[in-house]
């Protein structure tokens, strides 16, 4: 962010988002603690501590699966975008529930060891040569460490300090955390055949998750392949009628970058398609008062000069446009940051 940092930039929508999420978690945990003992065979009642471990663990896995669905859902259907705006809160809460699971395991299985509990954690569960009884705790520990790093670096300071590409790469390790969590569950709780609900949760969740991510990747691939890719001179970006109402026309360029062309009233403007914050797709943002609002985190940029309104200082590149009949021509060279480009009037051609 370009203004003074705050611990959390609370807004009404963030408070509602967090309240709904925390209430949902509370309801899940209460329902699990109440219903799980009833589904077990006679003579296999769980102690309260083991029940809590299972409740926190399954809740953390469910939350991780859900938080990973938000990105592709928002890419495929704009109605899911409100879930995306506060996804970092979702991630931090997921890490907190995973921490509750880890602490419950630590307190119940390792706290009474004659060894130091931390040494005991690594000294047990070492049957690496046998798939039956394969150690599953290291997978869970590695997944938790990744979630901890991601939660600890979720503040905007880290985005600025590490730079958006490094921060984004770091946070993509959440996919590795999911893979490790699946391994942890698959070789842990999954091995008890009396547990009927877990396979449904893990199989169903991973199938939906993989399908959503591949569908979103395919959509991106199709968008990138669309349109002209001539990087020399002016390129034909599309017709006036191709610019969607209230959204941008995304034009991929030969160098891998992309430009978003917007129509506001009877005028057209073009800016970079990538938000300076986290490289969100500005072409999918809404227009308000001459600014485009990034669909990911609400950063705003004026269409005329690509600058965020004061007091913010983020900037994105503007591009030159011209019209030939109703064909929009785009100069693929980005202007220096802060360059004002007057919107081109459509006149009668856009009607």
């Amino acid at each position: 962010m370009s203004v003074s940092y705050r611990p959390v930039g609370w807004t009404r929508s963030k408070i509602v988002y967090d309240a709904v999420l925390i209430a949902g978690i509370g309801l899940y945990l209460a329902a699990f603690m109440r219903s799980a003992p009833r589904g077990r065979p006679a003579g296999t009642l769980l102690d309260d501590q083991s029940l809590a471990i299972k409740a926190y663990g399954s809740c953390a896995f469910l939350l991780l699966t859900l938080v990973l669905m938000i990105g592709p859902l928002a890419r495929l259907d704009a109605r899911f975008l409100p879930l995306l705006y506060n996804r970092r809160h979702f991630g931090v809460i997921t890490c907190t529930v995973a921490a509750a699971h880890a602490m419950a395991v630590f307190d119940w299985y390792f706290a009474y060891s004659p060894l130091s509990p931390w040494v005991a954690l690594f000294a047990t569960d070492t049957t690496w040569g046998d798939l039956r009884g394969f150690p599953f705790i290291p997978f869970g520990l590695a997944a938790f460490l990744i979630l901890l790093v991601l939660a600890a670096t979720s503040h905007d300071f880290w985005l600025n300090f590490l730079t958006p590409p490094v921060w984004k790469s770091l946070h993509m390790s959440v996919y590795a955390a999911y893979g490790l969590a699946v391994l942890h569950v698959a070789f842990g709780a999954f091995q008890d055949a009396r547990n009927a609900g877990l396979p449904v949760l893990v199989f169903g969740g991973s199938t939906v998750l993989v399908t959503l991510h591949l569908a979103a990747a395919w959509r991106e691939h199709r968008l990138d392949r669309r349109g002209p890719v001539d990087a020399t001179g002016w390129i034909a970006a599309g017709r006036i009628g191709d610019v969607p109402a209230g959204r941008g026309l995304v034009v991929p360029l030969a160098d891998g970058s992309s430009v978003a062309i917007f129509r506001e009233g009877d005028a057209l403007s073009a800016i970079s398609n990538l938000c300076a914050h986290q490289n969100g797709p500005l072409g999918e943002g809404r227009l308000r008062d001459g600014c485009v609002i990034c669909p990911w985190h609400g950063y705003e940029y004026r269409l005329r000069d690509g600058c965020a309104p004061a007091p913010f200082t983020e900037r994105v590149a503007t591009y030159k446009l011209k019209l030939e009949a109703d064909m929009i021509l785009l100069d693929p060279k980005p202007n220096p940051l802060g360059t004002t480009v007057e919107p081109i009037a459509i006149g009668e051609r856009g009607r």
Binding site: S2, V3, S4, Y5, R6, P7, A42, G43, T44, W118, V119, L121, F122, A123, R132, L148, V149, A152, T153, H155, F157, W158, N160, F161, L162, P164, P165, K168, S169, M172, G179, V182, A186, F187, F190, Q191, D192, A193, P199, V202, F203, S206, V210, H213, L214, A217, E220, H221, D255, G256, S257, S272, L274, C275, A276, N279, E314, V316, A317, L337
Partner: protein, 125 residues
């Protein structure tokens, strides 16, 4: 020293080094490195866990000469990595789950119920 004890000792050393580097950065590096942090103190405790965990990265960024104006990215290079990662997961996850399903234990013995009798003195009361 046994391997578990070495792992724990290395972890403790990492966290101690991170604590020293993190506190030093908060006291001497943050204001110079990021203008938006000047005069803002409430958010600083939130940074400490990340500073402790990622201290080599923090030192590297702290000691690196600051670039006067960073150009925003024009390309979203992680899109390709995202597609490749999920193609990989689409192959690996079913294999893991199928293996785990094949290994499931159906023969876990259920212990017989044991009746807990109350003692004669309690029964007499």
């Amino acid at each position: 020293m046994a391997a578990p004890a070495i792992i724990v000792a290395l972890g403790q050393a990492w966290l101690l080094a991170g604590l020293a580097a993190g506190v030093a950065f908060l006291l001497f590096g943050l204001d110079r490195r990021d203008a938006a942090a000047r005069g803002a103190y409430g958010f600083r405790p939130l940074l400490l866990p990340g500073l402790v965990l990622l201290w080599p990265l923090v030192l590297w960024r702290w000691l690196e000469p600051p670039s006067p104006s960073r150009q925003p990215s024009l390309r979203r290079s992680h899109k390709r990595a995202h597609a490749l990662l999920w193609l990989g997961l689409a192959c690996i996850l079913p294999a893991i789950l199928a293996t785990a399903l094949a290994l499931r234990r159906h023969d876990i013995p259920v212990p017989a119920s044991v009746r807990i009798d109350t003692g004669p003195s309690e029964r007499d009361e």
